[in-house]
Point group: C2
Chain length 239, copies 2
């Protein structure tokens, strides 16, 4: 089993086709994710087509929890991501799957927080009321000419992206990643030295440079060892 997947929940709100529910369960099992919650499936429950399509993921279908009420299915969820292709007029952060996972890794290295990916019905996606209950939106980057992903395909891409990061973390050759605080220290040290040298040609330049440096050293998930090497290098260059 991949580590950490116990903390991930997949919630299907009003799914229409049993085949899609089954295919979602199958791919959840492929990625060792087993908590499936379903809000009022259109064709009732249990659903024979869901069982057939789930193949090796049959246990996930049989242990799925059925709710009438979306809010109730989320009572134990600490971080809820609405998966949506459509643009919404809402004040919510919109992430790509990869950005969302990077954020989870940054904030949740110890694991254990309950996270949910929430998918709407095949024909219309999540409605605004459901999305308002979620912390953020994930949008899978697709062909704008044909953004309509099959429900189980969307589930597969999110489960893959989530599970991949857990695997990558556990495969980090035992190297612990630097914390946000340590990365901030690196950037502070660098900026202090640049301040001493009056590096910036104009006052505008300083905040931009800080943002650039933060981007550069955040994107690549430095290990503690690498961070400490970089600090050593800066000190040496400044001698």
């Amino acid at each position: 089993m991949t580590p950490g997947n116990k903390s991930l929940v997949v919630i299907l709100v009003n799914p229409q086709m049993g085949e899609n529910i089954g295919a979602a369960a199958r791919v959840m099992h492929n990625f060792a994710i087993d908590d499936l919650r379903i809000i009022s499936p259109r064709d009732g429950w249990p659903n024979e087509k869901a069982v057939t399509m789930s193949a090796g993921g049959k246990d996930i279908i049989e242990n799925a929890t059925i709710y009438d009420n979306f809010a109730e299915s989320m009572y134990d969820i600490e971080m809820a991501f609405a998966v949506s292709a459509r643009k919404r007029d809402m004040v919510k952060n919109v992430f790509s799957p990869e950005e969302a996972m990077a954020g989870l890794l940054d904030n949740d290295k110890s694991g254990g927080r309950k996270i949910a990916f929430i998918f709407g019905p095949e024909n219309s996606g999540l409605n605004n009321k459901d999305i308002s209950l979620c912390n953020s939106i994930i949008t899978i980057p697709v062909n704008p000419e044909y953004p309509s992903l099959n429900l189980a395909q969307a589930v597969s891409i999110l489960c893959y992206e989530y599970s991949k990061n857990n695997l990558a973390n556990s495969n980090n050759n035992g190297c612990e990643l630097a914390s946000k605080k340590e990365v901030a220290y690196l950037i502070d040290e660098l900026v202090k030295e640049l301040d001493k040298r009056e590096f910036y040609k104009s006052d505008d330049m300083r905040p931009n440079m800080v943002t650039n440096l933060t981007n550069i050293f955040t994107r690549n998930e430095l290990t503690k060892q690498e961070l400490s090497s970089l600090i050593g290098i800066i000190k040496s260059l400044c001698k």
Copy 2:
């Protein structure tokens, strides 16, 4: 349309179920990939179930090229990745989807090379003879207790991972990425300064540090602008 996807080909070797071929075509269209080649589909061709399941990707099914012979379907392919879950006793590089894409970006920033992802039949996957015709193997990281991904799900994950990188590149706010040569120059400059300062406590330390720096500044795909900022910073610190 996402840029660059014209150079990606999906090849299904002996697929069994029309539904899976159709679902694969649908998700290819979701990621703006349109060249589908099929080697001897079990149930013949055309296949009504494939058309139905392809939904908005119907054109991809109708324009798919059918071959009797796998090798022939690859005549114009420059880089072929066999997608396989099973371990093989073959001298081939095995990559995760992400590693394979990173390699393609490194080697092929200008695009244009014909790349193929090759998928075997649902029941058995690719045979060793077919794999021997491919350059490398891609293995999707899955639950070892249930590695059997549905064919169309495997296609979706690979198309997503491929397309994501192209989108990320094109979404770079118009910033051109630094070339390998420019990154090498940055590292050379840094190492030269460290040499002047006799930074290394032992002779062994130097090559390790060069490798570490290369890792750090390669992983995050620096833009030309960022690279030039970093060189400016190094020069300033060394004053």
